[in-house]
């Protein structure tokens, strides 16, 4: 599973580099994403720009990653196409995953969240 990872302050940005996450690669995707989440300090942005197809098993991998977060951890998405957003809405997962247009917007939001007093 090809990811491109960059660190922006305390935020790990993981960009998915393949256009399709379906059942045939979902297991690998889940394993790789959960491993990345485990390494992230607190906040992780998953950049789905360029993703043209994901099925419910791919969604399962995203959910597994969410569940692998530390208690104060944060996983958000960016670059979600209108089509893929429709899958999140069909499954009501749009209420679970916070989404941003770009990685920059996501990083800015997470950085702002982290700097607010508790």
């Amino acid at each position: 599973m090809r990811f491109e990872e960059t660190v922006s302050g305390d935020v790990l940005v993981v960009k998915v580099m393949q256009p399709r996450i379906a059942a045939d690669v979902a297991g690998d995707f889940k394993k790789s994403l959960v491993e990345a989440v485990s390494r992230a300090d607190r906040a992780i942005v998953l950049d789905l720009t360029g993703l043209t197809f994901i099925d419910s098993m791919g969604l399962g991998g995203l959910i597994a990653a969410l569940k692998a977060l530390k208690e104060d951890g944060n996983l958000v998405l960016c670059g979600v196409s209108h089509s893929i957003l429709s899958m999140f809405k069909l499954t009501r997962m749009d209420k679970i995953f916070r989404m941003f247009g770009t990685a920059e917007e996501a990083v800015a939001a997470l950085t702002h969240d982290a700097s607010r007093p508790a």
Partner: protein, 132 residues
């Protein structure tokens, strides 16, 4: 190929994606449940336009879908309200039938003589407007 067929029938990008998604979910269900992930099995998949609908048929010779799953497929699955703070309780699987039900307009499932056939139809836009 399915996306090209959808485009030629006038489906927009989102509908075309959802049709491909429903087909994918149905095929994965055959692999995982009808054939229990056993290698070397075959399924027949056909798609075409018929009577103002895009129709997709999937045939397999595996274990038939249980009655309660056929009911979920035809009648839908009630989705419990989810709370983003309760992430440990989120399911990682089991959304395929709900997706198929919500995307496709017509669904039938038959099992006879060792053959299972799932038939899914989605109204083409012009036909959808006429029926409204």
């Amino acid at each position: 190929m399915l996306r090209d067929l959808c485009a030629s029938l006038g489906f927009d990008e989102i509908d075309a994606y959802q049709v491909e998604l429903a087909a994918c979910e149905a095929m994965v269900n055959v692999i995982r449940h009808a054939y229990r992930n056993e290698p070397g099995k075959t399924m027949m998949v056909g798609a075409g336009a018929e009577d103002g609908r895009l129709v997709i048929e999937i045939e397999d010779r595996g274990v038939p879908m249980p009655a309660e799953r056929v009911r979920d497929l035809k009648e839908g699955v009630e989705i419990a309200e989810v709370d983003s703070r309760e992430r440990s309780s989120l399911r990682e699987s089991g959304r395929g039938l709900q997706i198929i039900h919500d995307v496709m307009d017509e669904i039938s499932y038959e099992s006879e003589g060792g053959m299972n056939r799932l038939r899914m139809g989605k109204l083409i836009a012009a036909a959808r407007r006429e029926e409204q």
